[in-house]
């Protein structure tokens, strides 16, 4: 059946709702990178298998999403499969990102059971208050993330006046062997909660996490439009008795405990020329100092020299044992994020040009990422992205594996 409207039609079968849906995307991402063979990350990864100067990767990803809806119940599954071909050969993995049952007897109440990423926080590049989420990559913050298995509910009420909305979201997160086991200490039941308020046109979240898997932590975030085109947002997280693993003076490892704070302040501004500016400052008091990072990079250098000289990798294994901490995403204390994005430059529809930088204020190293995005063909997204780094020896970005990187992404939605 077709509803005719002049030269344009709405195919009513297109808007008929089916109880099920299946969709997702397939993407192909070739990547070329100029390796920095003096960098710590190169030494950690390839100390015993030297690589060429030029890295080539060909990544193919398939994300499938399916849902089944009956009455107030919705079953949703999202899987993400990656097949990669690199200089080291083929590799691949499939992960279930989401798999949950949602019951929604009314708009006032939703109950969710299963695997889901809550995605708490207002920051664009970082989310200090996202206590239940895996850390996102500030280089590509809009990528979907693997969730965790939990039981949660949303209670929502709307009001007239300065307080427009209140939502309360409690969540229970079990952590056992093979169940959220990367979240923290095993055999614990964790409780988290978020209280959302839309108060005086400001989004406000109050967040808490307690339980044995991680130390107790409390958070606050907000977001508000100061004018129609100027938004300000922030997050504050307090971690009680948090533990961190560091390199000790004698070359061993030690665990330090203490209360930690991390926070973020950001703005988003849309100019009259349709340029979007996103600026964020991220402070993580639990992060490493330049001195601590330098000690670690020295350890990697020594371990590499020891391997080359004696063939022994015992020191390298020690460095690798600490790598998850020292080479994690943005491991230091102070960062600035700036993204300038120009929609439809020269009035070219569906075309976006952007440039992003992440600046480590502690060691003055940074990366610079220009990118071009074209979405002019229905369901096809083409992105060309390159990345340059700058920093002195033993600074965070100088120790990355690639000096320069070029990445092309062709993604087709279906």
């Amino acid at each position: 059946m077709v509803g005719r409207a002049g030269d344009y039609d709405i195919d009513l079968s297109e808007i008929d709702k089916k109880p099920y849906s299946l969709g997702g995307y397939a993407e192909f991402v070739p990547l070329w990178g100029a390796r920095d063979k003096e960098s710590s990350l190169y030494k950690l990864n390839f100390y015993n298998s030297p690589q060429s100067d030029l890295a080539q990767e060909y990544n193919s990803r398939l994300q499938l999403e399916g849902s089944l809806e009956k009455g107030a119940a919705l079953l949703f599954v999202r899987t993400n499969s990656l097949v990669a071909h690199t200089n080291q050969g083929w590799s691949g993995a499939t992960k279930i990102y989401d798999a949950y049952l949602s019951l929604k007897p009314s708009p006032l109440l939703t109950v969710t059971l299963g695997k889901k990423a809550p995605k708490w926080g207002k920051g664009y590049a970082w989310n200090p208050v996202a206590f239940l989420d895996k850390p996102k990559n500030p280089d590509d913050p809009e990528l979907s993330l693997e969730g965790l298995v939990c039981a949660s509910a949303d209670f929502t009420r709307s009001f007239v006046g300065s307080l427009k909305t209140v939502s309360f979201t409690p969540a229970i997160v079990p952590v056992y062997d093979h169940l959220n086991d990367s979240f923290g200490t095993l055999n614990q039941l964790n409780f988290a909660a978020k209280l959302y308020l839309l108060l005086y046109d400001t989004d406000i979240d109050l967040i808490a996490l307690s339980g044995g898997s991680k130390s107790a932590r409390y958070g606050l975030d907000f977001s508000r439009n100061l004018t129609a085109n100027f938004e300000v947002h922030g997050e504050f997280a307090y971690l009680s008795n948090a533990q961190r693993k560091v390199l000790s003076d004698d070359g061993g490892t030690q665990f330090l405990r203490g209360n930690g704070r991390s926070w973020l302040l950001g703005v988003r501004y849309l100019s009259g020329l349709n340029t979007t500016y996103i600026l964020e400052y991220y402070r993580n008091e639990d992060g490493f100092t330049p001195g601590e990072m330098n000690s670690y990079y020295n350890l990697v250098d020594q371990a590499y020299q020891a391997f080359l000289g004696t063939g022994s990798d015992s020191l390298m294994n020690q460095a690798i044992g600490l790598a998850s901490n020292y080479t994690r995403i943005n491991p230091m204390k102070d960062y600035l994020y700036l993204r300038l994005s120009q929609s439809e430059p020269l009035n070219i529809l569906y075309f976006t040009a952007a440039i992003t930088t992440i600046f480590n204020a502690d060691d003055q190293s940074f990366n610079l990422t220009p990118e071009l995005l074209y979405t002019g063909v229905t369901n096809l997204e083409l992105r060309l992205k390159t990345s340059f780094i700058s920093g002195v020896d033993h600074s965070e970005f100088d120790e990355k594996i690639y000096d320069t990187r070029l990445e092309f992404r062709a993604r087709y939605y279906f």
Binding site: I15, P107, T110, S144, T165, Y350
Partner: protein
């Protein structure tokens, strides 16, 4: 005799005054109700056509309640499916399924690109955002000169041509405060949607800022719907499609 003549003149004067003293703001409210019920659901298709004739289409399911609440979810194409927009008074958010949380957006941005911006997609009643400064006679139509009530509205001024008989708009010019034309909307193809809703089913848009490009908005299945206020909350954004 003189007394009768005076009464006649007064009567004639009153009738003439009634004809010309149109209450513009009241007329604008009538236009709003003619276009849409106070609480409704509907489908809208947006078609962007470039100078070569290539089309890009977006289909949304939308709900609105009262004077300050409107929400919409993209149901096509696949690349946009599940994207949800919400407007509560001047606050606007966009929920992208991959990103997984709502982010604030502005009225001047466009979630679909092209001539339509977020303000066109999530338009509240005209009478909520604009005051009528002046009403002029324009043949079979009234020409309403509208001025934005606040600086947060996407277009500072609107010139709206409204049919005297149907109280439906035929053309709207969107202008800046300095009277620069940003875009023109042509209301076409009046259609009976049922339930007493008779209104244009197509809006064609042209903009001197996008020479050669054309954007079309097509309406379908507009009907009154009872909705809870909680539908228009950030928490409900990922579930909006369940209302269909």
């Amino acid at each position: 005799m003189i007394h009768r003549l005076l009464v006649f003149c007064l009567l004639l004067g009153s009738i003439s005054l009634c004809a010309y003293a149109i209450d513009g703001n009241q007329l604008l409210k009538e236009v709003d109700r003619k276009l849409e019920p106070e609480a409704y659901e509907m489908y809208r298709k947006f078609v962007n056509i470039d100078p070569e004739g290539t089309k890009k289409e977006f289909t949304l399911y939308m709900v609105k309640k009262g004077q300050d609440k409107i929400a919409g979810v993209f149901i096509a194409p696949a690349s946009e499916k599940g994207r949800t927009t919400l407007r509560l008074d001047e606050n606007m958010w966009l929920y992208v399924p991959n990103v997984g949380k709502p982010v604030r957006i502005t009225s001047m941005q466009s979630v679909i690109g092209g001539v339509f911006n977020n303000s066109d997609i999530m338009r509240l009643d005209f009478s909520v955002e604009y005051d009528v400064e002046k009403v002029e006679e324009a043949g079979r139509e009234y020409l309403l000169h509208l001025k934005a009530k606040t600086n947060n509205v996407a277009y500072d001024r609107l010139n709206m041509w409204v049919s005297k008989s149907t109280k439906l708009p035929s053309k709207i010019e969107c202008r800046t405060n300095a009277d620069m034309l940003i875009k023109t909307l042509y209301y076409k193809e009046t259609k009976d949607f049922g339930g007493g809703i008779v209104r244009p089913s197509v809006i064609e848009t042209e903009s001197p800022l996008y020479k050669g490009y054309k954007s079309i908005m097509i309406y379908a299945k507009i009907q009154a719907k009872t909705l809870k206020d909680e539908v228009f909350t950030l928490t409900f954004m990922p579930h909006l499609e369940s209302l269909r």
